[in-house]
């Protein structure tokens, strides 16, 4: 077998392990991919518990939904709708529009993104708490760049 084929197979097996799948099919031309994950086996006997094979145990372990991930997933991410420079306040001397922990109302200004000398106010899309400010003031931001995490009410 060519080393490349062997490597390819090993790669597939690695994916199988990584995602605890029971089956992974892969075809190259026409890109056919098929994955399958059978439910973890059920054990009716208590004595078998200790003797369960290593493979089976990993197959039944919780999936990529780590605690952080699931927490993050219900936050709202406020992204920049334009390209420009991010400002947390209306002027260098003014207080920031919001801080981490601030309660915000839908439509409340969170920050400014300046583009072509125009100050664009970015507003909250929902009521909630500012969990995290993701960008430093005066930093350039691109389209779609996450600016804040909001925990919606």
């Amino acid at each position: 077998m060519a080393d490349s084929s062997r490597r390819e197979i090993e790669d597939i097996v690695e994916l199988l392990n990584k995602y605890h799948l029971t089956e992974l099919e892969f075809e190259k031309k026409g890109v056919r991919i098929r994955v399958r994950r059978d439910p973890a086996p059920t054990f009716t006997s208590s004595s078998v518990e200790a003797a369960k094979p290593a493979e089976a145990s990993s197959a039944s372990s919780p999936q990529p939904s780590s605690p952080q991930f699931s927490e993050l997933s219900h936050f709202l991410t406020v992204t920049s709708p334009i390209v420009g420079t991010f400002y947390r306040s209306s002027s260098p001397d003014a207080d920031p529009y919001v801080e981490e922990g601030s309660l915000v109302k839908k439509g409340q200004v969170l920050c400014i993104v300046e583009a072509m000398k125009l100050m664009n106010e970015i507003e909250a899309e929902a009521d909630g708490t500012v969990v995290k400010v993701l960008v430093e003031s005066t930093t350039p931001v691109e389209f779609g760049q996450p600016l804040f995490l909001i925990d919606p009410l």
Partner: protein
């Protein structure tokens, strides 16, 4: 010279400009849409900025976002490539107003020359041979009938703001004229926001010959000889070559002089192309000026040895041309095949996942592409995935090399027009020499018959 240039484009032309910048020691900023984050032009550039979602109108054509990207990255200049904002006079104007160099002609040049009817009138005034046709846009239907009668049928209705075949109608009989004008006006209004159309005599078997021009800010204008782009389908160029097998030395010289006269008449600057329509007696007429670098510029680079993109940048930075007309010699022959992701039957774009992409190599072969060894062709943009250019000492060698390179080209996972290119290059008419713009349609009709 510029320190940093933003490339307001994607795909192979973005790569082409980045390469030129690297060779000149200039830093580069790529812009990209949300679906292009992993594209090669993003990887090759020194910096990159996402400017919007997938749709070109919201990203690559989004003037505020593109200019903001230029501002936050602190570039001196913007290269627009071709397509997107390349021929947008407003964009060029805003660049000028905020002190960022637009690498191309001035906004006035673009405005004047993109109005085909206006450009036509201007050239006629300057003694440039234009196609027999109406003076200015058509208004009165009766006047229209009279002009057509004088020209003789068939005639062609063209949109002033047109391009790429849109807003065009060929009319063979008087009774169809009114309808054709109306539908062309409607199409032009929809496509370009301006419904003005004009009339020209229609030639059945013309050749498309264009001259590459470069003009500096000091008033020097040189041409880089011609390209023959007669292999077209629905006004889309498919194969281009230089020199044209339809020209002899005398005609080449004459047309070159006219092309320079065209550009001097508008005090043009930077790269541009003067397009001519030529009948089979060698009579030629001004068609239009393209105020951008073109897809097919590579064939000119191969036969003249000049790097046109670097020249664009140098000229935009205010440097005078470092050569005169006599220094631009044609050496050898080059043919370009536009490799598109398209359905070979219907010739419609065919996006998908390229599972294997392996380009030909060896002597005389140049490939410009933004596809890696694999890639994704999204439905959002142009379906061209690569340009294959075959160079040789003469047309026969260039043809032989391009043909063997087509055989070597591997594109798996999607459909492409590689087989069509083989058919074109294998065709005795093409091998013999000059063909007309109807060659490809005839070839395809024969196939389906």
């Amino acid at each position: 010279m510029f320190k940093k240039i933003l490339i307001a484009n994607r795909g192979e032309i973005a790569l082409r400009v980045i390469r030129a910048c690297r060779e000149l020691g200039i830093r580069t900023v790529a812009i990209h849409s949300e679906v292009d984050g992993h594209s090669l032009h993003v990887r090759y550039a020194d910096e990159h900025v996402c400017v919007g979602p997938a749709e070109g109108a919201l990203s690559y054509r989004n003037i505020p976002n593109v200019l903001s990207a230029a501002e936050i990255t602190g570039v001196d200049a913007i290269h627009p490539g071709y397509g997107f904002l390349a021929e947008n006079a407003h964009f060029a104007e805003v660049c000028e107003s905020i002190g960022i160099t637009f690498i191309g002609p001035s906004s006035e040049h673009i405005a004047l020359l993109s109005d085909k009817s206006q450009a036509r009138a201007h050239m006629k005034k300057h003694g440039i041979p234009v196609l027999p046709g109406s003076d200015g846009e058509l208004e009165d239907p009766k006047e229209c009938l009279a002009i057509a009668k004088k020209l003789g049928y068939p005639v062609i209705v063209k949109a002033s703001a047109g391009g790429g075949g849109r807003g065009m109608r060929v009319v063979w009989h008087e009774e169809d004229l009114g309808q054709a004008v109306e539908s062309a006006q409607l199409e032009a209004r929809t496509a370009f926001g301006h419904g003005g159309v004009y009339l020209e005599r229609f030639f059945e078997d013309p050749r498309h010959i264009e001259f590459q021009i470069m003009a500096d800010h000091q008033g020097h204008v040189v041409h880089f000889h011609e390209r023959d782009c007669s292999v077209q389908r629905r006004y889309q160029k498919v194969v281009e070559e230089s020199p044209s097998p339809a020209l002899d030395e005398a005609l080449r010289r004459k047309m070159g002089q006219v092309a320079i006269k065209v550009m001097k008449s508008v005090k043009y600057r930077n790269a541009g192309t003067v397009e001519f329509l030529m009948d089979n007696t060698g009579q030629f007429f001004f068609m239009e000026v393209n105020t951008r670098i073109q897809v097919e510029h590579a064939v000119t680079e191969m036969v003249t040895g000049v790097d046109l993109i670097k020249e664009q940048i140098r000229v935009a930075a205010g440097q005078p041309l470092s050569y005169q007309q006599k220094d631009i010699q044609l050496m050898g022959h080059a043919i370009e095949c536009r490799i598109n992701a398209e359905d070979p039957e219907r010739m419609t774009p065919c996006p998908g996942v390229i599972t294997k992409f392996c380009v030909p190599g060896g002597p005389g072969i140049r490939v410009d592409t933004a596809i890696d060894t694999t890639g994704v062709v999204t439905p959002y943009y142009d379906s061209m995935i690569a340009k294959l250019i075959g160079y040789g000492r003469d047309r026969a060698e260039s043809l032989a090399r391009t043909r063997r390179a087509l055989d070597e080209f591997v594109v798996e996972g999607i459909q492409s027009n590689i087989a069509l290119h083989r058919r074109i290059l294998d065709h005795p008419d093409f091998q013999k020499g000059p063909v007309s713009t109807r060659f490809l349609d005839r070839l395809l009709t024969l196939q389906s018959a």
